[in-house]
């Protein structure tokens, strides 16, 4: 079986939170503006959001989750999953901390999933799978990262990432339309996006934080997120269109019945290439890169909020989600929603 199908679980609510602190990628010394302008034009990212000093992804998550629980009128959930790669501590994960901070009962099953840009469909599917047939009724899926950099030597990475947290509510509902999910993994590409030092394979040493020029001419530290631009571009623009076509083909879902394609917001070159290959008009495949950058696993739900909060509140929406990146991994989901709790974007 390549495509998972879950019936009887509804996506009930979605809240997205970004830091109010905004950085303009064009705010550079005058002599650097033309080059930076070219970079911004091609990558498609003008503004990024950064957590204030002392604030972490866990804090944004708490705001998102509280707003969602309030909106749903829930004082407990059975399952709390956090999808992040930027936890407060190397161990334990953020979900356990969040259970306590949200005042959720000790009977909450809480754990983290370590995934980045592809993570939203994986997290939603995991939670939905846990609800189905288990006796559990409600799940909260918190997704996002604090990956914005501030002063990286690698300019291509510096202008890319932005912070955000999102919370999604799932609930058992016999009347819910089935959701479909396909997850793919190619671990041979793990070096396309990775942090070389700081784990057990290569613990931190005296040289880990020294910048050095790499083979491709980019200056990096071994504690940075290393991005292999050409490899990521080739992977994303090859696999995402294939996955979307495969999921539509195998489920028999009519392409025209998809109201919105919410793709991971990687960069403009990647997203536009995928869109052109699929021949989908920009309105149905919204892009939020210009204002919010690449927010890792939060980019799909954040784009749902920014582009479609009113639509999600007011009616039925069929969404196709496709996340792709670190791993390499990529996940595609088709999910129908009906008048969910979806407030406008929250800034803190």
């Amino acid at each position: 079986m390549s495509i998972g199908k879950i019936e009887g679980v509804a996506l009930r609510g979605l809240v997205s939170v970004v830091p109010a602190r905004k950085v303009d990628n064009l705010e550079v010394p005058a002599e650097l503006v033309p080059a930076r302008d070219r970079l911004v034009r091609n990558v498609g990212i003008r503004f990024r959001r950064l957590c204030r000093k002392g604030t972490t992804f866990a804090d944004l998550s708490e705001t998102a989750a509280r707003r969602l629980l309030d909106g749903m009128g829930w004082d407990s959930v059975d399952v709390l999953i956090v999808v992040t790669q930027t936890p407060d501590y190397p161990i334990p994960g953020n979900a356990v901390q969040l259970q306590d901070r949200l005042g959720l009962p000790r009977s909450t099953v809480a754990f983290d999933i370590n995934l980045g840009c592809s993570g939203y469909p994986f997290g939603v599917f995991t939670a939905a799978g846990m609800l189905k047939g288990s006796g559990f009724r409600r799940a909260l899926v918190v997704v996002g990262d604090q990956s914005a950099s501030d002063g990286a030597a690698d300019e291509g990475r510096e202008i890319l990432f932005s912070d955000a947290a999102t919370a999604t509510a799932l609930e058992l509902d016999d009347a819910a339309a089935p959701l479909f999910f396909e997850g793919y993994t190619d671990g041979s590409g793990y070096r396309a996006i990775y942090v070389p030092h700081g784990g057990r394979r290569h613990p931190l040493n005296d040289k880990s934080t020294l910048p050095r020029e790499c083979e491709d001419g980019i200056v990096r530290k071994d504690t940075d997120v290393w991005l292999d631009g050409p490899a990521i571009l080739n992977f994303s623009t090859r696999e995402a269109p294939l996955a979307i076509q495969r999921v539509l083909g195998e489920t028999g879902i009519d392409e025209a019945s998809v109201d919105r394609y919410f793709l991971h917001q990687a960069n403009r070159m990647i997203n536009e290439t995928i869109r052109k290959k699929l021949r989908i008009d920009p309105e149905r495949m919204p892009m939020t890169l210009y204002d919010f950058g690449n927010t890792s696993s939060a980019s799909i739900p954040l784009t749902m909020t920014v582009d479609s909060a009113a639509r999600l509140r007011e009616g039925k929406v069929r969404s196709l989600l496709c996340g792709f990146g670190i791993g390499l991994s990529w996940g595609t989901m088709v999910i129908d929603t009906d008048r969910i709790f979806a407030p406008d974007l929250i800034e803190v």
């Binding site: 033309p34 080059a35 070219r38 970079l39 034009r41 091609n42 990558v43 291509g156 491709d216 001419g217 980019i218 292999d228 631009g229 050409p230 490899a231 571009l233 080739n234 623009t237 090859r238 070159m269 290439t273 052109k276 290959k277």
Partner: protein, 77 residues
């Protein structure tokens, strides 16, 4: 391959800040904008215009603009 069209595609893909005179024999290293961003632009252009997947390694092996055209033609088969 229409080489004039290729030069046009290449120019658009690199997104030069100012117009640059170039021909197929122009050395990539002499182009100020021949950087990692330009490489990504050329990879997208090869994919969308010629249906060819170029790797970072392919581009590293190119000295001139014509070398890129030659790889694309070879990969088109």
């Amino acid at each position: 391959m229409d080489l004039n069209q290729f030069l046009e595609n290449f120019t658009a893909a690199v997104d030069f800040e100012e117009a640059v005179e170039m021909e197929l024999g122009t050395e990539l290293a002499t182009l100020q904008e021949w950087d990692s961003l330009a490489a990504l632009g050329v990879i997208v252009m090869a994919d969308l215009e010629y249906g060819v997947s170029l790797t970072g390694q392919d581009l590293k092996g190119c000295a001139t603009i014509g070398d890129i055209a030659a790889i694309i033609e070879r990969k088109q088969g």
